[in-house]
Amino acid sequence: MSFTQFQKLPAYYRWPILAFVGIVVLALVQELTGQGLLTSTTTIQTALKWAMPILIAGLGGLLSERCGVVNIGLEGMMILGTWFGAWGTLQFGSPWWGLFFGILGGAMGGLLHAIATVGFGVDHIVSGVAINILAPGTARYLSDRVFAQMDGGSISQSPRVESLGGFTWPVLAKGPDLFGRVERLDWFIVSDVFGVLRGLLFQMSYLTAIGLALVPISAFLLTKTRFGLRLRIAGENPLAGESLGINIYRQKFIGVIISGGLAGMAGSLIVLDLAQLYRQNQTTGRGFIALAALIFGNWKASGVLAGAVLFGYPFGLSLRDLEGTATRSLLLVIAIALVVVMVWAFTKQNIADGILAGTVAVGSLLFFLFTNTAPSWLPGTMPYVLVLLVLVFASQRLRMPAAVGLPYRKGGS
């Protein structure tokens, strides 16, 4: 199958194939370096947990940008989600209430962003940055008034909250544990694939399940429903929509509010699944990484998932990998990926890209060969480096919604 044929496949075929290739590469490197952590169940689980907030916030970004509004305020809306997620749980005694209020809190941020950008025509970046400044301040103020009065709480931290919990898929990952058996057989590649799959299914948290389900749901919503079609026209050519009697303002408001709700959900997930308490600065810039995942994913739901996994994986790995040897072997993975990019660029007569990819590949390889353990800054830096590389090499192929970020006024034609 040639490359162009591959590109024409629908996204739900393409991404699994790419994921499989990725796992094969990881498994190869694992064999080469004798490093067992790269595809182990525990690594995948941690990576998935790290990927989830990025995924859900990224889907939030997707809905907002598809209706034409840049949502750089995702980070702030996530922060609102973390605070309200913790508060809802403590106040009403159930993490599900926490999730509900987390979503609501984020949606409030979305509403604010929509009022500013859609209602008043404020520049999207300005409004987003304002929300990113406003949200942590609001959270700190509210913490002072609420959490500081509670046992074990302070101005920067809530008392512990209950986790939402999860479940293990029967048959496949427990009981007969089919996937686990195959993993333990230690067959080259096959075991690795099943290790990854079992990692997904073992003690899967409810939020992870919801988050993964949101990917096809978002894709379906956007491409197959009336709501999605009208949402997308607002991001592609709002005047065309208006000329057919569609209320563009309404589409944009709904899109941005849902976007905020998803960001709030991502924030609550950090509280309810990962940390089990609210802490100041808990989101650590994942709203921005979510935007990067959105760009990486070419404004498609399945692409956002791929981006979230790609950016979450180095974080997850580094948490399991205390000596830094596994993270070091990731450098080899990157080198291999860049060599592929180089070959592809050269076949496309794109000499400059090819040379650049080759150079970075060599650098990455040298880094790998001349170190024994990865420096501690590497896992944290890797997502950003990855997104830069993707933007450099894929920017011509990426296509954002045509009218995203542009001001829209009714009757402006």
Binding site: R226, R232, N237, A240, S243, G245, A402, G411, S413
Partner: protein
């Protein structure tokens, strides 16, 4: 035959202008009715009112005899009116079917799109009117003519029997125009009423049954296409205007100041908008370019000043080949440029006058000293411009938007002339300014000419063009099609050249 649409006394005002002034006409059911008028005559505003995109300030609109009051296109669509916009209202990354169903989507339960029903209905519409298109193609992959077909199908899909087409031929090549006209005839045969806006007179005569002429926001008359010639239409469109006041003795010299050789510029679809244009302007000469807007004048000017790289051709300024030089270098060699839209390209409206006066000269004394902006020198030079060109303003520090349009324009002309350029390009230098400022601008153009500068003048004001120019060339469909002597031409004749009527032998 009954009346499909009747407009009585439609008036629409915008701040400072009356776009439509007591417009009256009616369209019979099943006819192709053309609306003719120059750019800015108010045709598009009228159609937006008819399609519910803008409300009229006064007047009554009747559709099939019933008085209507549209507050949005939805109302117009419900009344059976559909519009094909001049600039396609299509989303490039949507498929044809998505573009067509948008706004009236067939759905199954839960708002899920029913593409099967949509495609069946699309095929029915296509068969009924002889319009075929693949519903799964992406619009970005379609040719211009096909995109227009999608627009027409979009309207028919909604069951419209009154179609408004706003300058549908503007973006089409002749073969596509023929195909469009065939489609329109089929639509008419199927009982649709078509309102066709255009200013290309041959086309209008070919396709329409009746023609309503609009001039300066007023409906002048409605005529039967069979009873008139292109020349009659041109006269009605342009109107008999007062003879121009200005002609002074020639100051034209033999020295070529600007020479343009074989310039060709392509548009976004890869078609030539400027086609192999060549001309010379001598020192002390004003060359006027006449043409209906959109015939390539803007692109030609962009290519001359260096804002757009032409496909081929050269520009010589005083014998020096500047074809490969940047805008900055060309200005330094002696180009002055008054852009057609002073708000878009001429001024920074929120910046003070002295900053505006420095634009384009910002690297040279007296506006700069080495790396630094020379505020004092800039103010002095700005005051000089304000005085010499009578820019009425309190001081050089007020923002440009505080000035009236005429004074803004005088500031721009002053900025461009004060550096004594060899060639000055004037695009619509008196558009939208009052009579006093207009006379002042004309005086400046005349004194620049007397001082030996060469000028290229583009204007939609035919009196201005005839009065100021030493020679006039006519641009039509991207080509220079005629060279005329302003001493011997009337606005009426010039108008018929501009619309292409005279070229086809129908003017006199």
């Amino acid at each position: 035959m009954s009346t499909a649409i009747e407009l009585i006394g439609i008036t629409k005002r915008f701040p400072g202008v009356i776009a439509n002034d007591n417009i009256n006409f009616s369209v019979e059911e099943g006819e192709i009715h053309a609306i003719c008028g120059e750019n800015g005559a108010g045709k598009s505003t009228l159609m937006k009112i008819l399609y519910g995109m803008q409300p009229a300030d006064e007047g009554v609109m009747k559709v099939n005899g019933v008085e209507v009051d549209f507050s949005s296109p939805t109302d117009a669509i419900a009344a059976g009116i559909g519009m094909v916009h001049q600039h396609f209202m299509l989303a490039d990354q949507f498929s044809v079917i998505e573009n067509v169903i948008l706004g009236s989507e067939p759905t199954t339960v839960g708002g899920i799109l029913d593409f099967d029903t949509a495609k069946t209905h699309l095929a029915e519409v296509g068969d009924a009117y002889g319009l075929t298109i693949d519903p799964d193609d992406f619009v970005s992959e379609l040719e211009v003519g096909e995109r227009q077909r999608v627009e027409i199908i979009k309207v028919l899909y909604r069951g419209a029997n009154i179609l408004i087409l706003d300058e549908p031929t503007a973006v089409l090549v002749p073969q596509e125009v023929e195909a469009l006209f065939d489609n329109l005839r089929e639509l008419k045969a199927a009982g649709s009423t078509i309102i066709f806006i255009d200013h290309k007179l041959q086309e209008v005569l070919e396709i329409s049954d009746r023609i309503t002429i609009i001039r300066r926001g007023k409906s002048i008359t409605t005529v039967n296409a069979a009873d008139v010639t292109a020349g009659d239409l041109a006269e009605l469109m342009v109107g008999e205007e007062l003879p121009s006041p200005e002609t002074t003795e020639s100051t034209v010299t033999d020295v070529v100041a600007l020479e343009v050789q074989n310039i060709t510029v392509l548009d976004e679809y890869g078609r030539p908008v400027v086609h192999d244009v060549s001309f010379k302007i001598h020192q002390g000469e004003v060359l006027g370019i006449a043409g209906i807007e959109g015939n390539g004048q803007g692109e030609l000017v962009d290519a001359i000043v260096g804002m757009e790289r032409p496909l081929s051709g050269s520009v010589y300024l005083g014998g020096l080949d500047v074809s490969l030089k940047s805008v900055r270098q060309r200005r330094d060699e002696g180009f002055g440029y008054v852009p057609k839209d002073r708000h878009e390209a001429g001024l920074l409206l929120v910046a003070p006058l002295w900053e505006n006066a420095a634009l384009g000269h910002q690297t040279k004394p007296p506006f700069a000293k080495g790396w630094w902006i020379d505020r004092k020198g800039s103010h002095q030079r700005t005051d000089e411009i304000r005085e010499r060109f009578d820019v009425r303003s309190p001081n050089a520090d007020v923002a440009a938007h505080a000035l009236s349009g005429g004074n803004q324009q005088k500031l721009i002309i002053g900025r461009e002339l004060i550096g004594d350029p060899k060639v000055i390009i004037l695009a619509h230098p008196t558009r939208g300014i009052d009579v006093g400022a207009q006379a002042a601008v004309w005086n400046e153009i005349r004194s620049a000419r007397a001082a030996g500068q060469a000028s290229l003048l583009i204007s939609a004001d035919l009196d201005e063009l005839i009065g100021l120019s030493d020679r006039i060339v006519v641009m039509f469909h991207g080509k220079l099609v005629a060279e005329l002597d302003p001493a011997e031409i009337t606005p009426r004749l010039l108008g018929s050249y501009m619309t292409g009527a005279a070229l086809q032998g129908g003017a006199q």
